[in-house]
C-alpha cells in the first residue's frame, strides 16, 4: 500500500495543471467558479481546445483518438479539470454514446460519428427517461416501428438535458412489444432536426433551463441509424451506465467548492467577525472535508483496482461513490447558503444564462443549492444505488 503518486504521475499532474492554466478561457473559469451557467459557444470553444490538444476523448481507445492513459492518469486529469475548474467534456457524446458506438457500432457508424463527437461538431443528448419510466427505465414506451428502410418513431422523452443545444439524440425505443420488457428495446440515433421532433423546455426550481421534454411524432429515421442489433438496446444502455463508475463522485468539484466556501466565509461577517472564524461553522466545514477525504480515498481504491485488475469486475466500493459523492456535493451547497445567510434571497430575473453581470454573483448561491438537489436523483437515484448495493454486494 502506498498513497503517494509516482514521479511520472506528479509530472503528468503538473503538465495537465499548466495546460488548464494557460488554455481555459478566463471568463469560462470565472463563471464556473461563480456557479453561473455557460453558453453553448463557451462550452464548445473549450472542448475544441481540449480536443486539439488530443485530450477531448481521453479515455477512448487509442485507435479512435484516446490517450492510452492509465487509470491513475485519468483520475488526475478529471480531478485537475474539476478543481481548475473547467467544463467537463460533454458526457452524452464523449462518455455515453461514443463508447457504445465504438463498442457495438459498425465501421460506417464509427467513421461517421466518432470524430464529430470528439470535436463536438454534433452536440448529443440522451433520450432515455420518459414520463412513466424513471427508475423503472425498462418500462419505456417510445415506439420505433420498422417500415421498409425506415423506423417510424412515436412517443415522448423527458429530463433531456440540454436538448435545446442538441444536434443528435441517442434514444431507447421499443421495437418489440411482445418480448419481456428489457428484451424489446433498441438503441437508435438520429438528427434532432428531423421532422416531427418538438423540444419543450422544463423550468427547474432554480429558475434554470437545463432539461427538456422531447416529443416524437412520426419521426422517420433510416434503419442504418440502429446501433448494434435490434432489441439489444437494453444491454447497450447497461454498458453505457456502467461505464462511468468513478467520475460520478465528483471529488474535484466538491474540493473546488470547499475552497470557494472558505474564500467567501472569510469575507462575510457574522457577530462582528468572519463566518470562517465561527467555531460551529468551522467544525461543519471540517466534517465535510473529512467525508470528502474518505470519498476520495474510496475513489482512489476503485481507480487503483481498475488499473491493476481491469474494469471487468467492478470493485464493490464503487457503488459508494454516487451516494456519498452526491451527498457531499449537496452539503457544500448547503454550506454556501449558510455563509451568505439572508443575502441568499435576491433572485436574478434574467434567468440562468449568466449574462446579467450586474447581478451580484451571490445571486447564484441559492439557485445552485436548489439545483443540486438533482444530484441524488439523476444517474440512478440514491435509492436505486442502495438497491444495487443490496443485490450486487450484500446478496439480499
Amino acid at each position: 500500500m502506498d498513497l503517494a503518486f509516482s514521479k511520472e504521475e506528479i509530472a503528468f499532474r503538473e503538465e495537465v495543471r499548466a495546460f488548464f492554466k494557460d488554455n481555459v478561457p478566463p471568463d469560462t473559469r470565472r463563471k464556473l467558479q461563480e456557479g453561473r451557467h455557460l453558453s453553448k459557444d463557451e462550452m464548445v470553444t473549450w472542448w475544441r481546445i481540449l480536443n486539439k490538444k488530443g485530450w477531448g476523448v481521453s479515455h477512448w481507445p487509442k485507435e479512435y483518438g484516446g490517450t492510452g492513459w492509465s487509470s491513475v492518469q485519468h483520475y488526475i486529469f478529471n480531478e485537475e479539470l474539476q478543481m481548475h475548474p473547467a467544463p467537463a467534456p460533454l458526457a452524452f457524446g464523449v462518455s455515453m454514446v461514443g463508447p457504445v458506438i465504438y463498442t457495438f457500432g459498425n465501421e460506417a457508424q464509427k467513421k461517421q460519428y466518432l470524430p464529430r463527437i470528439a470535436n463536438v461538431d454534433d452536440w448529443w443528448c440522451q433520450g432515455f427517461s420518459e414520463p412513466g419510466s424513471g427508475s423503472d427505465l425498462a418500462s419505456l414506451k417510445t415506439k420505433a416501428e420498422r417500415k421498409g428502410d425506415k423506423y417510424i418513431i412515436n412517443g415522448q422523452k423527458t429530463w433531456t438535458t440540454l436538448a435545446q443545444h442538441a444536434d443528435m439524440i441517442f434514444c431507447l425505443c421499443r421495437t418489440d412489444n411482445n418480448a419481456k420488457k428489457q428484451m424489446g428495446i433498441s438503441f437508435i440515433v438520429f438528427d434532432m432536426k428531423s421532422k416531427g421532433i418538438t423540444v419543450r423546455p422544463i423550468e427547474t426550481i432554480d429558475g434554470g433551463h437545463e432539461v427538456n421534454e422531447v416529443f416524437f411524432d412520426d419521426v422517420e429515421v433510416p434503419v442504418e441509424n440502429l446501433i448494434g442489433e435490434e432489441n439489444k438496446g437494453w444491454d447497450y444502455a447497461k454498458f453505457l451506465l456502467g461505464n462511468e463508475r468513478t467520475g460520478i463522485a465528483r471529488v474535484g468539484v466538491s474540493k473546488e467548492r470547499l475552497r470557494r466556501i472558505k474564500d467567501l466565509a472569510a469575507k462575510v461577517e457574522s457577530n462582528g467577525k468572519p463566518v470562517l472564524e465561527d467555531q460551529g461553522f468551522r467544525e461543519k466545514l471540517a466534517a465535510c472535508e473529512i467525508e470528502l477525504k474518505a470519498l476520495e480515498l474510496t475513489q482512489l481504491r476503485v481507480v487503483a483496482d481498475e488499473g491493476k485488475h481491469g474494469k471487468g469486475k467492478p470493485n464493490p466500493a464503487s457503488s459508494v461513490l454516487k451516494i456519498k459523492g452526491s451527498e457531499i456535493q449537496q452539503t457544500t451547497t448547503e454550506l454556501l447558503m449558510e455563509v451568505i445567510g439572508p443575502f441568499a434571497a435576491p433572485y436574478d430575473e434574467h434567468g440562468d444564462d449568466g449574462s446579467n453581470e450586474a447581478m451580484d454573483w451571490t445571486a447564484q448561491i441559492a439557485p445552485s443549492y436548489f439545483n443540486n438537489r438533482k444530484v441524488s436523483i439523476y444517474g440512478g437515484s440514491n435509492e436505486i444505488q442502495r438497491n444495487i448495493i443490496t443485490k450486487a454486494v450484500l446478496g439480499l
Binding site: 467555531q279 477525504k293 480515498l297 474510496t298
Partner: protein, 380 residues
C-alpha cells in the same frame, strides 16, 4: 499509488486470519474471558509462535521490521474476532514507546520479553480530569538522586491488572496542562507503592485503576527525555489510534456480515426479513459506512509514513472522526436489524457493538478529533 497488499502482507493476513479462525470463535472467546486475568495465555503463546508479537520491531531488536500496514492487518483480524489479548497495550503501545523513544538498554531489556510472549504491558495515562488531553498530567515524577519518585492516580488502564510492566506518564515540571515537563516511565507493576484495582470493562477486556504512592524508579526508567516526552506520547498514541481504526473496521465488517446473514435467515410474515426494502437500504447504508471507514483507516495507516508530524496527526484525527461516525451507525443498526435477539448477551452481535462503542471513547471521541481537524485548518 497502490492499495493492494504485497505478497508478504497477503501471507501475513492469511496466517493471522487462519490462526484466529481456528482458535477464536465466539464460544472459545467466552472460555478465554473466564480464564484468570480475562484472556488466554495459550492464545498469547500462539501469537508469539507465529511471530505476531515481534512484527513491528526492527530485525536487530529481534523483530520483523514490519510497518503500519502489517499492524493494521493484524488489528483488523483481531477486530473481526473480538480478540481479548493485550496486543494493543503490549505490542502497539509499549512496543511503540520502546521503538520510537527507547534507549539501546531499554530495548534490550524489554523487547525480547514482548516478542517471546513472556511479558505484557499496560499504558497508565488516563487521569481523573485529563479526559482526552494527553498534555493534562497531574501525576508527578520528582527527581531523587539519579532516579525518580512517582505519585499519582491513573484510571481505566487496559491490561493494568495483568501487566508485568506499566508505562506511566508523569509530570516532571510545569503546571498540570503544560506541554513541557512530561515524562514517560517504565514501572514494574509489582514495584513498592503501586496499587492496582482491577475490573472488567464493558467490552469484555480487563482494566485497572492504579495508584502510585512514592514509587521509586531508577534513571533508566525514563523513556526519551523525561522533561519533554509529549511528542513521543502523541506519536505512540497516534499509532494506537490508527491500530484501533483498523480494529474497528474489522469489527464493523463482521457486524455487517453477521447482520446480513441474519436478514437472510430470519423469517417474519412468511418471508426472510431481508426482502423488506427498509431493511435492505439500512444494510446498504451500513455498507457505505464500513467502506468509508475502511478508506480512512487506510489513510491513517499510510499517514504513519508522513514526514510532517502535524499532517500525520491531522490524518489520524480525521480517520478517528470517520471511524467514530461509522462505528456508531453500524453498531447501533446491527442491533436494530437483529431485533430482540440483538439485545441478548447470548448473541455475538452485541459484543461487537460494545467493543466498537469503547473504541470510540478511547484516545479521543468523534467530537474531540473533529475539533483537532478543525483547529488544524481542515484537510483540503
Amino acid at each position: 499509488m497502490d492499495f493492494d497488499l504485497s505478497e508478504e502482507q497477503r501471507l501475513l493476513k492469511e496466517s493471522v486470519d487462519g490462526l484466529l479462525n481456528d482458535s477464536y470463535d465466539f464460544e472459545a472467546r467466552k472460555k478465554y474471558r473466564a480464564e484468570k486475568g480475562g484472556w488466554s495465555k495459550t492464545v498469547w503463546g500462539k501469537l508469539a509462535e507465529q511471530g505476531l508479537l515481534g512484527l513491528p520491531f526492527s530485525e536487530e531488536d529481534g523483530g520483523f521490521g514490519a510497518g503500519a500496514v502489517e499492524t493494521a492487518i493484524v488489528m483488523e483480524a483481531m477486530g473481526k474476532a473480538l480478540v481479548l489479548e493485550p496486543y494493543l497495550a503490549t505490542v502497539v503501545i509499549a512496543g511503540g514507546f520502546l521503538r520510537h523513544g527507547g534507549s539501546a538498554e531499554q530495548k534490550a531489556a524489554h523487547i525480547p520479553a514482548i516478542i517471546d510472549g513472556s511479558k505484557t504491558f499496560a499504558f497508565a495515562q488516563l487521569e481523573k480530569n485529563s479526559r482526552y488531553d494527553l498534555s493534562d498530567v497531574a501525576t508527578t515524577a520528582k527527581k531523587k538522586g539519579a532516579g525518580w519518585v512517582i505519585d499519582g492516580e491513573k484510571f481505566v488502564v487496559i491490561n493494568g491488572e495483568n501487566a508485568d510492566t506499566l508505562i506511566v506518564t508523569a509530570r516532571t515540571s510545569g503546571a498540570r496542562r503544560d506541554r513541557n515537563g512530561i515524562g514517560v516511565f517504565l514501572v514494574p507493576a509489582n514495584a513498592k507503592g503501586v496499587g492496582r484495582k482491577g475490573y472488567p470493562t464493558q467490552d469484555g477486556l480487563h482494566a485497572a485503576d492504579i495508584t502510585l504512592t512514592g514509587v521509586e524508579v531508577g534513571a533508566e526508567a525514563a523513556i526519551g527525555d523525561p522533561e519533554n516526552a509529549l511528542e513521543l506520547i502523541e506519536r505512540v498514541v497516534d499509532d494506537a489510534r490508527t491500530a484501533m481504526c483498523a480494529e474497528a473496521v474489522g469489527a464493523m465488517d463482521e457486524s455487517l456480515k453477521s447482520t446480513v446473514e441474519y436478514l437472510k435467515t430470519r423469517k417474519q410474515f412468511g418471508v426472510a426479513i431481508g426482502t423488506f426494502q427498509t431493511l435492505q437500504h439500512r444494510a446498504a447504508d451500513m455498507f457505505v459506512a464500513v467502506e468509508q471507514a475502511r478508506s480512512m483507516s487506510m489513510f491513517a495507516t499510510m499517514a504513519a509514513d508522513f514526514d510532517n508530524a502535524k499532517e500525520r496527526a491531522t490524518a489520524v484525527a480525521a480517520a478517528k472522526v470517520q471511524i467514530g461516525k461509522s462505528l456508531k451507525f453500524v453498531g447501533q443498526q446491527s442491533i436494530q436489524l437483529h431485533g430482540g435477539i440483538g439485545m441478548t448477551q447470548e448473541a455475538k452481535i452485541g459484543h461487537y457493538f460494545k467493543r466498537l462503542t469503547m473504541i470510540e471513547n478511547t484516545f479521543g471521541d468523534t467530537d474531540y478529533h473533529l475539533r483537532r481537524v478543525t483547529d488544524a485548518g481542515g484537510l483540503i
